[in-house]
Each structure stands twice: as structure tokens, then as C-alpha cells.
Symmetry: D3
Subunit: 238 residues, 6 copies
């Protein structure tokens, strides 16, 4: 869909915070980029970076959403688990309804084994205690035991969706840290990665000064004097 | 998509209440059929029956959703207004967000002129005082002035959607009265129309008896004696 | 349960507003007396006064809540319709869930015919357009077509309940006007009725003065001068 | 605070819809201008235009918010009623909590008599059936009988507030119609009034054409041909 | 009320997940069995199994709900703490309101000492940091310091209730794990326990295969080949 | 503003739970004192005691709330960070909106270095994983990456505000533990601290007895026998 993210950009994004990314996107006029309500099941797990592969749920219908649908290889949820490319992030639109699950421990383990970069849902995930122990980024509104068929009908794959109130187009870059998930439009992911990494270096400098007792006025945001100090600090190899 | 509704079924559905329809659908195992939150802007307007033609919105993105998109003939909302067949109902998935509009007075008037059967949205409609005076069924969460672009990106047409928490597949039969809107799966619309009309005749009889002072036990639901009295009442030509 | 409301108190309550009653109850330390979310289906209908007869719903269970339960004379909802005393108000605890109905047109008509004083629900009522035309006070969160069994299991009758976030004990006096419903504890209903009527007379005087251009300072609440003017106004037979 | 609105701008704003105003403000980068949840108590009442005079409520405290505070001439709510200038709109920040009132019939009548332009609250108003009969614009989340002291402590007057999720600075121009209320920043009110009136003329032309059967493509938004037809239509004196 | 759960069933339930149980109940037509919003205060604590003993709260009334009620041995909350049988689970209906507590550290410790199996509330629990350190299953919407009397009036014991949107009848089997709580109707608890344990064995086999790299198609749900492999795996003593 | 809290009272408050404080305040007629929804980012961090210094946000406006405002020394948020006195608590009114941040890691570190006692917000905090590792009390609705300007306009400092639904006047004593935050009106903080400490000693005695197997009737609340036993226990030096 779009040219893939460069390795440099991917590495940069693995190191920056979602907070920094929202600032970079705000500078570009994008205010609605943080997946509301999606928390990491394991806040101390690895960060997540990868292009979005989407799964869209609509409300379930009792006659269509029965347990036997899972035997069908074309069922969108089951197909997604095997088809989402390694390195991509499965993003699920559950209309924010976390009263049931959108996936569970077996499917997430399968995706982890396949090299998928992570999972984001604005619904629930079942087997959450087990998922919280996997070295695999999984974001959702919370653990929720009930089988997804009770509320969700898997409608289609890789169409534009909403997730946690944010638009997600297939190929958009999903970045997750211990706070949550940011969606970066594919077309600007490279430049945002670059500028976010630069912002993070500056904020490391700021934090050093703040810890040393400097006040924030003139420092954050920087005045000319601070800009020079920062340049010197960087030149010293920090 | 499915064989069209017979004229007899359509007429039957124009005469029954959404309350009766939910009972018929409950008998068939369908519990989630009433579009939650969608009220008629004109409660005294005409009833609505027609197959669903769907428009799906996802959350807006500031760089994509600008006023000039409306000049594009392929923009899904504008295309929907001209393409929804006469006799059909335009059903819009706004994720239940009524903080902005999903359409307004000019577009609804155009659809009315084109012979569209009605409009259902789980978001807002702007120009609501004006729409409330049209002889055209329009259901939504309430009047809402802001332009739809502020929150909604028109994503695609005639795919399965959720509306007011209910699954809506293109071709499903939408029925609206002064209370709200029910969605009947296309495949069972004929039989539901038939049985609902029969139920309504019985309830007319029940209401006559209740107004005359009869108690509800044995009457509603009917015991054998009531069934015979109802048969006699019907035989008398009501 | 408690000694019945005197005819004088009942008549007084028919003439005062729910706004006035909340002030009287606030003076007595009761802050939570207005049934939140319950609106009259017919805002221009008659006012409502009567002791509470309660019906408690809990969430439905699919195996228990099937259409055939209505044939059972002991089913609490159906029993309530025939057992609620004339002059009383049927108050239903729906846990604030208006996604389905708690009763409909036939049952409300039966209660109207029986001389019941009114119905209050913190859920929905079906056949709402029809109910809105009855000369019968009916308060709810809104019209809602789906049959009550989908979400509500009728549990028991005449136990203390919550309705719209307010405690309602059987026998408490329910008063409804075009704004909503207030619950007066049975033990203080007589004195509240008396004081509310007196407050209303004073506010009629205040409104006359306000319409004539008097400022509110010193008038509302009254200073000594206003109290004397009010005494004179009353003495003149107004 | 700011130069007052010109009479021409005021008249223009009395004639345009809130829908049109949100489009004009969206063009200027302002997306959050419609007071969410505030409905007119009398949808058929007069439109409203005037600068904002604000009253800020914070949550009540039982020891501070007792009935005797109303006797104090410095109590912000009571002071507001007498101090809001004729022609201005009283805007109340209730934190969106409509479980109690923010004002009632006597105070609104006083303001109407004083020539105040209207009242906007993101809470409730008590005596709503009475207010709905006044020829006075009153917008709120709904009728709510309980006295304001139960939840609201009047904190101060004429500071910037939020109302229905929208920022309101004293002097901003509040415009209300049958749909709701829009807030126009004072500095751009003149130009917005002018452009909105022009937009409304164009939409009147569009509606004429739509009623006559013209399709919306090329018409709304207009292509060159439509622009010329509109110029001719205007030249003909319509 | 019902014959007690067998020791075998109890042990089976201690070992299965709530996710598995919702699937078993979904197979039996029960979709609403997971107590929404109730989380374990100590996610790493012991699992919970036991029949429900219920406590019903309605909204508080200021004149009835004062601190001295706790001295009364018949006060339902205090009576519950001493009367809930060892091995049972105290289930509290707080109408989902967690703005205050439903119980606290002292009462939970007393129940733990008495051998009660656990506590489930759809409200808050106070002293939550202390409770989180007890080897005692406690589920609620979150820690909440305020005394229960502020919002909750203890109405009665061991009647059917709703908890987290789910119907709970006294004697129903409550099962809790690190994800949340499932309610099993008493009449089917034995068979559900048996089938859930069997499902868990199969899912252990599936997880082994998934970890080893097998794809999910044909495995989960199983085709004939997988069923044979599972039979062989079980025969080998796993 | 008010006479500062005595060192004895401050120490007492550092040792009592917020649960105990709500009971003491309930005894004094104050029911709404617990900041709803505010959780500690580090539940195992230090307790918090200090007078409130307030920051009020209203909804943002796109033309006013741009990144360059932070360079202005009078910007209320930035000014607050440098001006909140050591020993005080910064309390932020975000109208309960946690979809964006109200502050982040750098500003909180600066306040920690300055000796501020803690931070309370009814919105979000960004950099939450980093803040959770600081030895600094920080309470909010949850981690939220987006920059505050997207939703919040910093309006003013040290005015009365609402926070989590609770009134907070500058100088009120904020107390936080692992459960949440309680607001004590400044005028009664000394006596509440004293009585809460006494209550805590008694509850320590009660907990000892409960752990030893004593039933709660007669113990909690205490009868005469228990009061004597408690007096003896205290006399023994505990």
C-alpha cells in the first residue's frame, strides 16, 4: 500500500515515547492519534512498531455468529491471525465495546510465533492473565472473558477502521509503549520518526537539567541560551 | 442482493408497530434489532419501510476531511445521496457519535425528491428544525449543527455496518414508526411482515377488550376461550 | 403500610410543582428525590399523585425469560398490572436500562381503566406514541420497542427499589408533573404537601411582582418588607 | 471587553442557522463551537443572539450551599440575574451535570423582563414546562426539578468557562436557534455574521433547485455553471 | 436451595479459566454471564469457587443511612458478614456504582477468617491496598474510600440480584480468576464444570502445538486429524 | 489563605487511610470528598499531604492553544509548576477529560525537585510509565499521551475548582494514599486529622481481634465491653 518503513525509522520509533509522537503529530495538525482506552496488558513488555493490518467487527447477529463459524478458513478473525504479515500489527475495531473478547491467548500466541509485531483492540482480550505474561505487545480496554461471538461479527479485513476513536488506515504505523498506542499516517511516518527521535534527545537533556535543579522557564521550551547549551551537550557526545 | 420485498409485505410493515416487530424477531431468536437512540425528528411523520443502503463513517482525520472533498463525485456521502435507490433507506454508521451531523436539510430534501424511503443515522442531523417539517422519515440521535467532517470520514458504501448497536446488512428491511427503527434480516422479512400483521390484528382485539374492562389474565396472552372469542370477532369482520 | 395520604394532601400535591417539592425535601435534608431521566411521555397530560407499588426487574436470563412466562398469573409484571391498587403508582426498577421496554400500551391501558394513578419506569416503555395519547401519566427514559424479556427478569413486587437513582419504598408518595417525578417518604408526605402548597402561593405572588418589574433582591427570598406585602396580598384574597 | 456587535451583524445572526455558523467557523479552523447537549426548551421560540455573560458553578459543599445563601446579594447566581446586561446571554457552566437545576422560572422571567437575550446552561433548568411557554430563549440539557444547591456551588462571574464542552469567554457571541447554540469568538463575530448570511442566501438558492429536482453534484458545492446561475438568481432580486 | 456442588466439580472449576466457562455457557444459550467491570484487587491471588449468597443495596436515603445503623445486628450488610456460609461467595448488587465502598478491610478479613470463599461487588471496596494483600479473592470495580452509607442502603439478603449486569440467583456458582467472575446457574454447574475441564485439556494440547509452530486452521477448532492427534496425546498421559 | 496545617496534623494525616477520612467527614455532614477516578500512578509510592494549589483548565480553542504558548512565563500551567509552594499539592481541574494529558514527566520532575507534595488531576498524565517510577505522589485518571493543548486551555490559578466531582478550594488539605485522594476543608483539617488518627488506632485494635477470630457484632462498632477492652489494650501500650 505504501513504501515500507525504513529500518532507521522503525528503530527510532522503538525508542521514542507515544507522548513525544503526539506532539510531533500535533505540530502537523493531527489531534486525534492516541487510541483511547487501549492499555498494555503487560506494561513492562516490549515496545511495538509496525504497519496496521485491520480487522473490522460489527455487532453480532445470533443466527450468523455461532461457534461453528470458526471452522471456516475465510472467517475474517481466524484468517487475520494467519494472514497478518510478520512485522505488522493486527488492529481490531470493536466499536469500543469491551464487554466481550476480541481474541484470546491461543490466537495471540500464534501471532507471536508468526512474528507479528503486536495486537491492538478497542475491545477486550480474553485469557488476559496469560497474555500479560507473553513477551508480546497486546493493547486493549481490559481483560474480558466472554467469547467474541456474543457481541462481535467479524465483517472484513484491511479496510479503514476506527479504533479507540482514531482513524486507522491499513499501512498506518502503529507505535505502542507502556502508556498506549499512537497511529501515524503512513505518508509521514518517516519524518515523524526522525523528528520524534530528535525531540527525545532534547528532552533527555532537559530532564538532566531539571533533575539538577534548573527551572523550566527558558529551558522547556528552550530560549537561545538553552539551545546553545543543548548544542554543546550534544557535541560532548551525549 | 436479495429478492425485493413483496408489495403485500411492504404494506403490512407500513401498518405494524416496531414493538410488534421486536416480538416477532425475539420469537426467532433475534434480540438486538432496535436501533438504539435513533428517534424520529418528526414523531408525527409518515412510517418508513425499505431495504437498507449503507454509508460507513470512521473517525475523521484533519488532513483528509476538508470542505473541498464534497466537490468530489466519488465522496461516499455525496455519492450515497444520488445513488441510494428510490424506495431504499439510507442507513449511516456514525459509531453513535452525535456531536456532529451526518447529513443536513439539503441532502435530505434531495433524497426525498428522489423517492428515497427515509434516513437512519446513529449520529446527528443538522438543520433538524427544517427536517422535522419535511414529510420524510428521518431518524437520528438528535439535531446537531456541526459539519460532519469534524468527526466523520466517509469510508465506503453498502458494506455491513453497525447502527445504534445493531448489525445492518445491505438489503435488510428497515422499518420505522413514531418510536424508532427496527432492522429485519432480508431473508425473513416476508414471514415477519405476515406474522406481525396477524399479531397486530389480535392486539387490536385485545385493546378493545381492555378498554371495555376485561382483565389481562387469559386475554393477553390468550387462553382457549379468548382464542375462540378472537376468531368470532375476526369472522364478524372485526 | 402507612396511613393513607389525606385527600387534602393529595389535592395539594396535584397542584404543586416537582421543583417546589425538591426544595421542601432539601429543607428536610433529603437531596436525592428526583427520579433521574424519567420524562412524561405526554408532557401536557394530567399530573400524578399516589403511593408507590413497586416492581423489581433484574437482568434477564435466556432460559428463564421466554414469551410463555406471560401466561403465568404469578409472573410479577403481569400480576402487578392487575394487583396495583387503584390510586397507586406502579414504579419499576429497570436499573436505568432503557434499551428495551418495561411495559407497553395494552398493560398501561389496563391500568388506566383500573384507576391506577400512573406509571414510573427508569427503563423504556413500548408503544410510546400510543401511550402519549392516553390521559394517563406515564414516565420513563423514552420509547423503546423491544420486549422487556430481552433484558429484564421480573423478580418481585412491593419491595424497596431504586428508580432513576432514587430509593423508593412501597407506600412512598410519587408526584409527577410536566418536568418529572419526585419521591416523598410516606412519613412526611402530609407535612411536605402542606408546606409545598404554601410555598407555591408565595411563588405565585413573587411571579406577579417579577412580571411587574420588581427586582429579585429582597423579593426572592423575601425580606421583611416583602413578607408584609405578601401577607397583604394574601389578605386581599389572592 | 470587546467592541460590541454591530446591529447589522446582530440582525444577520438572527437569520442564520447554527448549522451554517459551524461551517463558517470550521473554515476558520474552529471545530468545537456547538454547545453539546443544550436544547431549546421551546423549539419554536425566538432565536437568540448576544454576548456571553458567564456564571461558573463548581461542585456543591453541604456546609456552604444552604438555602440561606440566596438572601446574599453577592451570591453569584442571584447577582448574575440582576447584573447580566440587557441584550447579553447568561451562560452557565454546570460541568454538564443536569441532575439538578441551574436556575428556574422566576429567575428566567426576571431576566426576560430585564431584556436579557437568553440563557444557556449545560445543566438542567427547573420549572421547565413554564419556561417552555415564555417567549424567551432558554437552552439546557433538560428539565430538572432539584434545587441547584444540591450539586452546584456558584463560584464566580464573567470568567472564561466551559459550557457543553465548548470554551466560552465573556463577550463571545452566543447564537441559538431551534437546533442549539453556537459560540463565536468575539474577535471574528462580525466577519462570521457577514459570511454566514451570504452562505444562507446561497443555500436558499440551492434548496430551490433541489426542490425543483436538480441533483446535488455541481450544485452543492457549486461548479462554475452553478455559480453563474446563482449570480443571475441573486440579480433577479431573490 | 440446590444440591451442593460436588467436590469434583468444585476442583474442576478451580482449575479452569473464566474464558473457558463463558464458551461452555454460550453453547448452552447463555450470553450474559460475566460480571462486567469486576476486577480482582489482587490479580495474582487464589481463584474463587462457591455458591452465591447475595446482598442487595438500593440508593441511600439520608435519614435512614446513618453511622449508627451498623450497631444493629439485623443490618443486612453486617448480618451478611457473619451469616454468609463458609465456602460461599458474598455477591453485592451496588447498581454498578463504585463512587463509594460496599465493604472494607475489616469486614473482608472477618469473612476470610470465617472461611468464606470470596467477595464480588459491582461497586467499590475501601481499604483496597490492604485487601490486595490478603490471600482472599475480592472482585470489584475498584478501590473507593467513601463509606457505603453515602450511596447505598442495604435492603435485603439472599434474593435474586443483578451484579455487573448479570443475573445472580442465590446458590448460583460464582467462579473467579485473574480476569474476572463468571456466574453459572446452579442447575447446570456440575455439567459445565465437567465440560469446561475437558475443554481446558484440549486447549492445553492446542497451545503446545501453537507454540511448536502449527497453524490454527484445522487445529482450533479441530478437524478429524487434530482430533486423532489429541486422542493420542491424551493417551500418552498428558 | 488559612493558617497552615500543624506538623502534628500533617504527620497524623500521613498515617491514616483515605477510607478513615471519608468516615470522619461523613460524620461532619460532608459526603462528597473523594476525588472520583483519580488513581495513584504508583500505588506503592509515598502518601501525600498538603494544601491545594489549583490550576483550572477549560476546553481548548484551536487559535489560542498552540505550542508556542508554553514559552510564555504567564501561561498558567507553566507558571503553576514554578509557583506552587513547596509542601503544596497541585490540583488540576480537567473536567474529568482524560483523553489528553494535563502534565507530563518533565513538569512533575521539576515539581518533585522543588519539594511540591504531589499532583492530583482528574484528567490524564503523559509519560505515565516514567512518572510511576518517581518517588512522587501523582494521581490521575490514567496515562494519556496527547499534549494537553488538544483539549485543555489553562485558564487561571488558585481559584476554587472541581476535581473528580469534588469541590476544591485553594488551601484545602489534599490527602492521598494507595486508594485515592480525599479533600479536607481547610477549616476542619486539624480536628479531622486528630479524630482520624484516633479512629485508626481503634481499627488497628479491631483488626487484631478479627484476625484472632472475634465476630464483628459488638466489636465494630464497639459495645461497652469492647470499649473497655480497647481502653485496656491502649493502656498496655498496644
Amino acid at each position: 500500500m505504501t513504501s515500507p518503513l525504513s529500518e532507521a525509522a522503525r528503530n527510532a520509533l522503538l525508542g521514542v515515547s507515544t507522548a513525544t509522537l503526539t506532539t510531533q503529530l500535533f505540530k502537523r495538525g493531527l489531534r486525534n492519534v492516541f487510541v483511547q482506552g487501549a492499555r498494555p496488558l503487560n506494561p513492562n513488555g516490549p515496545p511495538m512498531v509496525g504497519p496496521a493490518y485491520t480487522l473490522r467487527y460489527i455487532p453480532a447477529r445470533e443466527d450468523l455468529d455461532t461457534l461453528d463459524v470458526f471452522a471456516d478458513r475465510t472467517h475474517p478473525q481466524r484468517k487475520a491471525v494467519e494472514d497478518v504479515p510478520a512485522g505488522s500489527v493486527l488492529v481490531m475495531d470493536c466499536r469500543g465495546d469491551a464487554s466481550v473478547a476480541s481474541a484470546g491467548g491461543i490466537l495471540l500466541t500464534r501471532m507471536m510465533v508468526r512474528g507479528v509485531a503486536g495486537v491492538v483492540s478497542d475491545g477486550g482480550l480474553r485469557d488476559s492473565p496469560e497474555i500479560a505474561r507473553l513477551p508480546f505487545p497486546a493493547y486493549c480496554r481490559g481483560g474480558s472473558a466472554p467469547v467474541n461471538l456474543i457481541k462481535h461479527h467479524a465483517a472484513d479485513l484491511n479496510v479503514p477502521i476506527g479504533c479507540g476513536g482514531v482513524p486507522v488506515f491499513p499501512g498506518d504505523i502503529m507505535v505502542g509503549d507502556g502508556e498506549g498506542v499512537v497511529v501515524i499516517p503512513a505518508a509521514i511516518a518517516e519524518e515523524v520518526a526522525h523528528d520524534a527521535a530528535a525531540q527525545d534527545v532534547f528532552e533527555t537533556f532537559v530532564m538532566e537539567r531539571v533533575r539538577a535543579g534548573q527551572q523550566t522557564f527558558g529551558l522547556y521550551p528552550p530560549n537561545e541560551e538553552t539551545k546553545q547549551a543543548f548544542a554543546a551537550w550534544k557535541a560532548k557526545g551525549k
